[in-house]
């Protein structure tokens, strides 16, 4: 049994009782990374082991009975977050030599909670992709089948959790980037409501859609991490002033009578029948736990890809304009072909003669979609949906098919458009043993409710405990 298999509250208890130390955790983490990262390519940069052990030693010394749950645990972050002095590349050659001149709020919060940042994870550069193939630092590989992608864009972070290199990781979700790799690597990931976590110090993809969220083995662990990282921040005016819930004590609430909505548009003709079967199995399992199934409809969901990409790419073309190579970074031409394509598409959607027909129309359609979700939540408490229409693709498959690459995001993107929270949890396996996740989508700021249902589900159905046999030791 590895320490990395234990949950955050279990580890915290052992640490406080001094039965294990943070140094033990750090050592195991580096052992796992040394053994598997060469094959899987989860990390872009890694902290010097000696420095990490020194940090752990200090934490071990200063630990008290009142130390919080994350005190002395090991984590990694998608390489889109600034942490003072660390190399921050966003997986792009543009920033390959960039060093963070200050720290993101999320890093500062986790650091002050006593968590040890061990390294920064690979991603589709700038978040532009759903497979972690569009990285200037090499493709990341799925620990369940190394010929396949790990999902993306937070692929490296999902791999680090799935292969037990860290206790938890921080990802970023603009159109599915936390949920998609979580589903493909058999871990749990939370896309928070827009504004729940500060975006200060995050490299922007699309500012009205970007969210910062935790990735971990279980809903329970996610609750512990979210509790520390969420909240208003005066450095991010879009961070919500709304009071935080107690995510941890809410986990154990009863879920009897919860209304789980199934929207028919989430089971379109593109969905892999194996995935549909798994989602329906989860629905049936939830009824066994006392929940009720309600059939609902989101008529304009199928416009989701169009609405999302028009908004996201317009915003990214504007955000990426700051990279002029003067204050930091290399020439604009060092951007990858995928990013260049997205900037050009965004420029098109914003250009004279097209902005009204495309960008502004998408903003109106966004209002329609928000209203449809609002109406649905009058009939049910949460929605249950697939994360992706297909199982993890073979490496190279999506990059060579730009249309399929876009359509893969259909089930995740509308959640960002509406600013809702969504929890992805492991749900089962295909016949060829590839993990499949489902997502629970809630009303804005209802993270506690999602984590509660996720926790109850995972107490009864333990797919989330499985790790690939190839990397067990």
């Amino acid at each position: 049994m590895m320490l990395m298999d234990l949950s955050i509250p279990e580890l915290s208890k052992l640490l406080v009782a001094r039965k294990i130390s943070s140094v033990d955790l750090v050592k195991e983490s580096y052992k796992r990374i040394t053994a598997w990262d060469g094959q899987l390519n989860s990390f872009i940069s890694l902290k010097d082991k000696k420095i990490a052990i020194r940090e752990a030693n200090i934490l071990d010394k200063n630990r008290t009975k009142n130390s919080g749950a994350l005190y002395g645990l090991v984590f990694s972050m998608k390489d889109a977050y600034l942490a003072l002095g660390t190399k921050t590349t966003c997986a792009s050659n543009m920033l390959k030599n960039f060093k963070s001149p200050y720290s993101s709020t999320v890093y500062q919060k986790l650091k002050s909670a006593g968590a040890i940042l061990i390294g920064k994870n690979n991603l589709d550069s700038w978040g532009h992709g759903g497979s972690t193939e569009n990285s200037d630092f090499g493709v990341s590989k799925n620990p369940w089948d190394q010929k396949r992608v790990a999902g993306g864009s937070s692929g490296g972070s999902a791999i680090a959790v799935a292969s037990r290199m860290v206790n938890f990781a921080i990802g970023e979700d603009t159109g599915g980037s936390i949920r998609n790799p979580s589903s493909m690597c058999n871990i749990s990931g939370l896309k928070v409501s827009y504004g729940r976590v500060s975006r200060w110090g995050t490299i922007a993809y699309a500012s009205s859609l970007d969210t910062v969220g935790p990735m971990a083995k279980s809903s329970e662990d996610l609750a512990y991490v979210l509790q520390e990282m969420a909240g208003a921040d005066k450095k991010d005016a879009s961070s919500a002033q709304k009071k935080l819930d107690d995510y941890i004590s809410n986990l154990k609430k009863r879920i009897k009578g919860k209304k789980i909505g199934l929207a028919k548009e989430f089971f379109s003709k593109n969905i892999d029948p194996e995935i549909e079967k798994i989602v329906r199995k989860v629905a049936e399992r939830l009824t066994r736990l006392g929940a009720e199934i309600v059939n609902v409809s989101i008529p304009h969901l199928n416009y989701g890809i169009s609405i999302y990409y028009l908004i996201a790419l317009s915003e990214t073309s504007s955000n990426m304009a700051r990279y002029d190579g003067v204050r930091y970074g290399n020439k604009r031409e060092s951007l990858s072909p995928e990013t260049i394509k997205r900037i050009i598409l965004g420029t098109y959607a914003l250009s004279a003669g097209y902005a009204d027909k495309l960008y502004k129309k998408a903003q109106k359609a966004r209002t329609v979609l928000i209203d449809e979700y609002r109406r649905v939540f009058k009939k049910c408490d949460v929605l249950l949906a697939p994360v992706t229409p297909s199982k993890p693709a073979k490496i190279g498959e999506l990059i060579n098919d730009p249309v399929k690459n876009f359509l893969e995001d259909l089930y995740t993107v509308t959640v960002n458009v509406a600013g809702l929270p969504s929890l992805a949890i492991p749900a089962g396996f295909t016949k060829d043993n590839l993990p499949i996740g489902v997502q629970l989508i809630g009303e804005r700021f209802h993270e506690a409710e999602l984590l509660n249902i996720g926790y109850k589900y995972q107490q009864n159905f333990r797919d989330y405990k499985k790790i690939p046999t190839t990397i067990k030791n």
């Binding site: 169009s306 990409y309 930091y328 970074g329 050009i344 598409l345 903003q363 329609v368 876009f406």
Partner: protein, 101 residues
């Protein structure tokens, strides 16, 4: 731009995006754009009443203000650290205005 995008359109968009790309790159982008743009523009077919407002942000219900006091920010030395070219504590940029004869 005509209904079917051509190479000149892509070149124009690249120029607006401040990207200098080779003909080979432009041609590849044109192929991808032609494949994607139909899906991306689907929204233009939606029938929406004029009354529907545009959503451009999802932030707080009320505006967030801060006290109007000066706070310390990155100092010059730190701010310049990642710059490739600097001179006397300044960023060096391309010359924009030239002397006339």
């Amino acid at each position: 731009m005509s209904s079917q995008m051509d190479l000149n359109d892509v070149e124009y968009l690249a120029q607006l995006s401040k990207l200098s790309l080779s003909q080979k790159q432009l041609k590849k982008i044109l192929v991808d754009l032609r494949a994607i743009i139909g899906h991306m523009s689907k929204v233009s077919k939606m029938k929406l009443s004029k009354k529907i407002p545009r959503t451009n942000r999802l932030g707080n219900e009320q505006n967030v203000w801060r006290e109007d006091v000066v706070e310390t920010s990155l100092n010059q030395e730190v701010a310049l650290k990642n710059a490739k070219r600097k001179y006397n504590g300044y960023f060096v940029v391309k010359q924009l205005v030239r002397k006339t004869k």
